[in-house]
């Protein structure tokens, strides 16, 4: 795929960039409500859960990873209290990132699944999930901190 990330760090960075632009910027930064890692990483978590279920059910990789793109997009729309977006670039970006994430996960997990190693599969997915969640939460916290600082000034 053109522009496909070469390693997982690059992919994480790409997800981070898109989330900043398309998701976190729309979250209520300065409201007093607490923002959890779960809320911040919701679209990513939804893709994780879906990919795991889809692999276990033996669904088609190509169509399901494409579907994950839509899942990612709709998750962002839902979390930002929207039903639609009028920005076709936003739709394309979110879809692309969601799809790449799903493809990355699928490629990483299908080996375990083909070996029927359920324990290893679940452990791997939990590890990956916490790895990306931590990364995104850290990035989000940094941005939030900078914004709050800017607001106070």
């Amino acid at each position: 795929m053109k522009g496909e990330p070469k390693n997982h760090r690059e992919l994480f960075q790409k997800i981070n960039d898109v989330l900043v632009r398309r998701y976190w910027n729309r979250l209520a930064w300065f409201e007093n409500q607490p923002l959890s890692s779960d809320k911040v990483c919701k679209p990513v978590h939804e893709v994780f859960d879906y990919v795991l279920s889809a692999i276990k059910m033996g669904l088609d990789k190509r169509s399901e990873t494409a579907y994950c793109g839509s899942l990612f997009l709709y998750s962002v729309l839902r979390e930002t209290q929207r039903r639609f977006t009028s920005d076709v670039n936003e739709a394309n970006e979110l879809h692309e990132v969601g799809k790449e994430l799903a493809l990355f996960l699928w490629n990483g997990l299908e080996k375990e699944f083909s070996e029927n190693d359920q324990v290893n599969l679940t452990a791997r997915i939990e590890k990956l999930k916490s790895e990306i969640s931590d990364y995104l939460w850290n990035e989000f916290s940094k941005i939030r901190f900078r914004r709050l600082e800017g607001q106070n000034e």
């Binding site: 879906y50 279920s53 669904l59 399901e64 729309l77 039903r83 977006t85 394309n92 692309e96």
Partner: protein
Amino acid sequence: MSEIRRMLIFVILLMMGFGSFLLPSVSAHVVSEKDWLNDPHDHGDAKIVYLKAYQFGFSIKAIQEGSQLEVFPEGSEPSILKVDKGDRVVFRIISEDVTHGFYIDGYSPSPVDQKIVIQPGKIVEVGPITFDRSGKFKIRCSVTCGPLHPFMVGDIRVNPNFGYYSYAAGSLLAGILTLAYLRRGPVNRMLGISLEKEVDLLRVRGIGPILKRILQWRGFHFAVIWPGLLIFAVVIVAGFVGNPVGNKNFSIAVVWILWFALVEFMILFAGRSWCTVCPLPALGEWIARRRLYGVHRIRKWFTFGLKWPGSLNNMWLGSLLFLTMSLIIPWLVTRPVVSGLLFVILISVGTILYITHPPRNFCRSICPAGAYIGHDSNASIYSVRSRDKGICDLHKAKECIRGSPEGYGCPWRLYPGGHDENTYCGQCYECLKSCPLDNMTVKIRMIGKDLAHMAVKAKNRFDEAWMSFIRFTLGIFYILVFFGPYAWIKDWGNMGVNFGANLASIGLLVPGIEGVVNWFRWAIMVAGVSLVVYPAIFYAFSWISKKVAKAEEDTKRIFLAFSYGLIPYIVFIWVAFAVAILLVFWVYPITAFSDPLGWGWNLLGFKFKWDPIHPQSLPYVLSSLAILGMALSINSTYNIAREMFKDHSRAYRATSVMALLHVVSAIVFVWVVAG
């Protein structure tokens, strides 16, 4: 003083509803059977018509004028009584088989007030009636007498039939006026209205947002399907265990009168909206999706997922099934058990095919109703389209095809963002739900907007062309068969014996040998006209068009393209048929809801009785609709020709040739309904 008293009594009687004596004098009394032909009566200057009622027609046996008696030993066929305006006529009627009724459009009083009943073995004398209005009037049976009772009709032609001459001339005039309008070379317009104009229904203030919420609500499809499924269940039960007389049975009255007529209006005003509510594939869809209305998050489908054969990916099967159903239509629409069986087969096939070959291949390629509804709805004012095709092109994910968490991908295997015809869009609104860009909407536009570009790109779409020919010819055939005076056609189609009483065949599925032979004659006649004769005439006219226009395109291409021009004509002819059905038979579906099995119940307490709504105006209403369809068709043909030849002069000349065929067809139609 006595004059004033008489006036007062008159007014009081009128106010009390005794004004019916102002209607043409119709009286009925019973005289002995031997008086019928052997003892001609003297009614002064009135003609005496000896009329025999039988299943399912009226046959004139003799006409007495003064002392002269003209006898038709075999009965008149077709059943047309010709009288002059001002003639006074007495009808002496006898029933050959079962109890019948007698009603003349526009001359008889309402059958609710005064029902004339003709019992076997007795003679009923009606009249004298003064035929003081010229035109064509139907004699109808007003007592349910068997399966084809609603279509038991005869004609009375009161000469001079100015109505017919006017409408025949009107057809010609409308053709000439349309051509005169087209001579100015209007681009992309239909009878003066721009085809570019569209209304985005979901953005209309007030109703738009509400409609959008409804259509995007996931439960919408289920909410409109389950009542239909319930009705289908009643249709099947009534078909198998209900009254075998068609118009008393829910399966006939609701499906073949109410549904059949309403679908034609839906096609014109709401496109394929029937397919939105159709329950035939619903069971299969629910099983396959494992959901009644939600989107299945983990998209494991309960299907075999077999691929639909490419050779069946067209309208041939649906068209031919529609024709086949039409060949048994006199049988189908009058025998509840046949209808019940048909729906069991359709639901089973629809369900099984959804599971074996998902998703809606049954609807796309097999369903006979889906085929004609899809084909005709290209002339609809209603369409589901993208707001901006440019956005759809830029959008990479194409959720309208693949599906999204909010909606399934198009189950009709279309690319909704790019499609520009109604043929295979089942209006399930999944694209409205799944599009994250809110770029899908419902558009209202002028009739025939899509036809020109559809026609020009239609290479080798013989299936759609033949669907046009089948629908067009059958539209006229249906009116001729069901509302015409030709009893032999009804008998052939009914698998009955010519001129015979079909008492024994009521509710039976096995006809006699003679009935089968007659049916084969009927089938050859109907299929021959729709599959061979009319297409051959159309091809000949297309060839002449090519010559007259000096066009470089080959005749096949012109022939195929011009067949799309017929679609508005088809829609209006079928709407005319629907109007005729509804105005005359409106009471049957209503009472069927109160007594679905025809067992004499009245669950809803209805007190409606058969009483046609202004039936004497039907010939003119129907003719007007056909003429309007003709004008739209000529204009569509011009738009197609203009798009194809890219030249006004050639397009105009080619259209003029095809207009001749359309005008002749309109005159034939007017002759059938008013002549």
